[in-house]
Symmetry: C2
């Protein structure tokens, strides 16, 4: 069996450092495709170009224009490879055709969607010592959290992304669903892929940007476009549920930072990310 995540992030080599992908509409929300899914797809092309360094250690993505379901090309350029790490740039483009008025190229031209830089390595070969003062995300037991499965059909129609996951939201941070946002810049949840695919370093690139924006809890519904997102993968996650927490502390100048932490089922901090995003515009 091929899991959804693996099928939908497949990249097919077409020439040295060039890969074709097909962005799947199942990862979209409203008109846009989820940024974490795009990051993981780019991450897979990077891995294909760096066979001796299979794991993302750090990836930075700059989102240039909104990606759409359909074909995409990912170009990878390896900049530096040492014994333990390799750094590469990557660009995701899609065929244009809607014309410059829509921010698109003419038919036949390609449109740049995402520019990225990344350093890959081998998580399994790193020293085992862990010295952390970070506190594990506090969540009630899974069965006491609010499952994404109770979302009304019209929400799932608008956000097919929700169908990819089993999410159990912290009950104190889900009031936005019924028009009662918590007023605090935090959203945390248990997460796993709906079809049982276990998390791995590549999937963490997707999980860091898969929850609804933390601005929902600040009374600002709507799409919060990512300008830039950088993810650090600090360890390969164990199988099982992930604990995921998004947090913001500074909304200013029409932008906010959104920090994400992911802890695995053994209680280890496996990923940290920060993005700079645009504040949702009032409807």
């Amino acid at each position: 069996m091929t899991y959804e995540f693996d099928a939908h992030t497949t990249v097919r080599p077409v020439s040295e450092g060039e890969y074709d992908a097909v962005l799947d509409a199942g990862w979209s929300v409203g008109g846009g495709i989820n940024g974490g899914y795009l990051l993981a797809t780019i991450g897979r092309a990077l891995r294909a170009s760096l066979p001796a360094k299979p794991d993302p250690l750090v990836v930075s993505a700059y989102y240039l224009t909104a990606s759409r379901p359909g074909p995409a090309r990912i170009s990878v350029d390896v900049r530096r490879e040492s014994r333990s790490a390799a750094t590469a740039s990557a660009e995701l483009t899609q065929p244009g055709g809607d014309g410059p008025a829509a921010g698109e190229g003419a038919a036949g031209e390609s449109v740049a969607r995402i520019a990225a830089l990344a350093t890959y390595g081998h998580l399994g070969e790193l020293p085992g010592e862990v010295l952390t003062t970070a506190e594990e995300i506090r969540l009630p037991p899974v069965e006491e959290c609010v499952p994404s499965s109770i979302a009304p059909p019209e929400l799932v129609d608008m956000a097919p992304l929700m169908g990819r996951f089993d999410i159990r939201f912290h009950p104190d941070q889900i009031g936005w669903v019924v028009g009662k946002p918590s007023g605090e810049g935090e959203m945390s949840a248990w997460m796993r892929l709906a079809d049982g695919r276990e998390p791995d370093p590549l999937a963490l690139l997707m999980f860091v940007d898969a929850l609804p924006p933390v601005t929902f809890n600040l009374g600002m519904p709507g799409w919060a476009p990512t300008i830039e997102l950088t993810a650090h993968v600090r360890a390969a996650p164990a199988p099982g549920w992930l604990k995921v927490r998004h947090h913001t502390r500074n909304m200013a100048g029409g932008m906010f930072e959104e920090d994400c932490e992911i802890w695995d089922s053994t209680g280890r901090l496996v990923a940290q990310s920060r993005q700079l995003a645009r504040q949702p515009r009032p409807a």
Copy 2:
């Protein structure tokens, strides 16, 4: 009068998107050049290529090889420009000559030092509303902090970078100087440039990586090479002292994240950064 920071980050256009710089030894520590100074120099080349978008909003730098004092070339490639923002990639290279054994190219070849991506805009044109729950850095009054000017001459000889700043360290976080690290992953200080040059958005790119590594307070002296650093500039800083705080929570796999916050003299959070760095090796 030209201030040191401006003189030493000067970039001279040589062709479309290509700039020459001379990396100044005054910003070095041990054998290496400070990563913040390098980031600001690249930031200045980016600004020269984006005249309508003068301010860095977010910059990500991947440090490929250790830069050295002397000539450098910065190449900028604008990827996307919209009404309010522009995104570009940049690369800093230096002439090689020490041969492949030293990680260098042969004489005549250039060696890539840093690959970067950045989005620029116009901080003065952003909406004025600020909604922050971040807590201002707590420091004793400047006159009760420990001035960098009392550093012994042999330390200044080893770290010329110290001569560029007036730093007043939090007295509880400076014990590492006398072999008594605090044991906590935090270092905070008042900072300004020694020659009175006031901070601006470009200088913030330098200030986010100018304090000694936070690992000094964890009993790990030594150079902590940056793998990647991303800085968000959230507002233009007011004149006067900056409050700067470095913080780490997770040392694992021989790496640690170092978060930096900078608050200006009016009590506004003006910059946030995070880097992934390698843990110093035991001497």
